[in-house]
């Protein structure tokens, strides 16, 4: 327990005549007030890989937690859980996003796509996946789902990127094995596969 009492909190205490701030939930229940509007409901319906799923999501839950531990979509990896590596990259409305560093509640209105949702109905790999296989882009593979999602996001926005554009778009993904060159080969190959 942190005994820290910030000076500003003291001021607030003085101004508010000593009404100590506590946990808001406790405060509202103690004061008998209704919670202000905007308070989130835990049960949400989220669109993941084209399927709408009902999930009980804690207010503070990150999207990566929901995907991995509530929906079993373990393709989304946690490399750092701090937005410093990119292994958890998913697409939300086609935009690359660190799933470890957004709240599920913030993304609940978006179209969420993970690496598991890329294959076609008949099981064909997505061109990016196919290209990554052909170019042997992954090494250890732990960052690969994130790299795949970044590449897919790039190619949706720009189906014909230069290698330089590709590396900028992919730059939010660390590969500790150092397979950047092979991933870029893969992205360039994917542009050919997409045609």
């Amino acid at each position: 327990m942190n005994q820290k009492l910030t000076r500003r909190r003291f001021i607030k205490g003085v101004i508010a005549s000593g009404a100590a701030a506590t946990s808001t939930a406790a405060w509202y229940s103690a004061t008998g007030q209704e919670r202000p509007s905007g308070f989130v409901e835990r049960l949400v319906r989220i669109n993941v890989n084209g399927q709408v799923r009902s999930v009980d999501v804690e207010p503070q839950e990150t999207l990566a937690s929901t995907l991995r531990y509530k929906l079993g979509l373990t393709g989304t990896k946690l490399g750092c859980n701090r937005g410093e590596c990119g292994a958890c990259t998913v697409l939300v409305d086609d935009v690359t996003t660190y799933a470890c560093s957004v709240l599920t509640h913030s993304m609940k209105n978006g179209r969420i796509e993970t690496v598991e949702g890329l294959e076609s109905a008949n099981g064909d790999l997505h061109p990016v996946q196919q290209a990554f296989v052909e170019e042997l882009s992954p090494q250890c593979g732990y960052c690969t789902p994130g790299q795949v999602m970044s590449a897919v996001g790039l190619l949706r926005a720009n189906p014909n990127p230069s290698r330089e554009e590709a590396r900028h778009a992919m730059s939010g993904n660390i590969c500790r094995c150092g397979s950047y060159d092979s991933y870029l080969d893969g992205v360039m190959r994917a542009t050919e596969l997409i045609g």
């Binding site: 910030t6 946990s23 839950e61 937005g83 410093e84 470890c100």
Partner: protein, 331 residues
Amino acid sequence: MVATSHDVMPDIELYQPADEATALDLASRLGNEGWLLGGGQDTYGWLKDRNKTPAAMIELTQIDAWKGIKEISDGIEIGAVTTLTEIANNPLVQSRYGVLAKAASVVASPQIRNVGTLGGNLNQDARCWYYRRGLDCYRAGGNICYADSPEGLNREHALFGASRCVAVSPSDTAPALVALDATMVVSSSSGERLIPAEDFFVGPDRDILNMTVLNDDEILTAVRIPNTWANAEFYWEKVADRNVWDFALVNIAAVFKVSGGTIEDSRFACGAVECTPRRLEAVESEVRGQQRSEELAVSAGEIATDGARALNYNNFKIPLMQNLVKRAIRG
């Protein structure tokens, strides 16, 4: 009680107000127990580490009024929860305020720019490693600075304006906005106040616990950039260790009004050398009315670091800052 490595978001409430009034009301009711949430890129690390323990998050990104870039009578207004990606790619910003577009385009990484907001980038907390580790240093309300000592890891710390705390302003967009003479629109349930960008940030001498002058009940809702420096020549550069993720070792934003090779007027701001973006007024007056030249660049560069007080491992920032000023003047 013993230090352990945390990684899981602790219990915390979340509010997602859909309109301005509710958000302002929440901010005022929750005070410093409420954490304003933009893109959250400088939030979840704090919370997972349990180094900041607000009771609730107030998410601002659902409020459309605070999003987007629009023209106003004098310049443009950028909503505070507009993403950095949108700012970097916005044609209006790119064409008129290129220095801001450039600055926004090199923040952190693409994914962080995709959800990270302008307001978040401006309000982000100090990146001093000790502070981030959750140590009870001055900035955390304690009574010590671990970085400002002969052995402290202070390579990334301040040259100017240190007062017990030696952390620097980590923002890339802040110097650009100071250079552009932007105005911060700050709202609370009791009204709105306009703060010049330069005065929005606060050093440890005046407030060691905060990086900006925002009060607990206030929300930065928009940034207005006047026409004064629209379409001006500009220089932007960020020098960081790595070209992705890293915060600037020093960055510079400069805008110029040039006529016939003569710099009629200019504004310079450097980041990562002080707790606030550092406006370089002495440089501005040095170059006013002068032709761009190497000699001018050198003399202005030296003036730029007058009064710098280096720590043990950030000496290099002095020549680096001088060099960036030189480069800005060379154009």
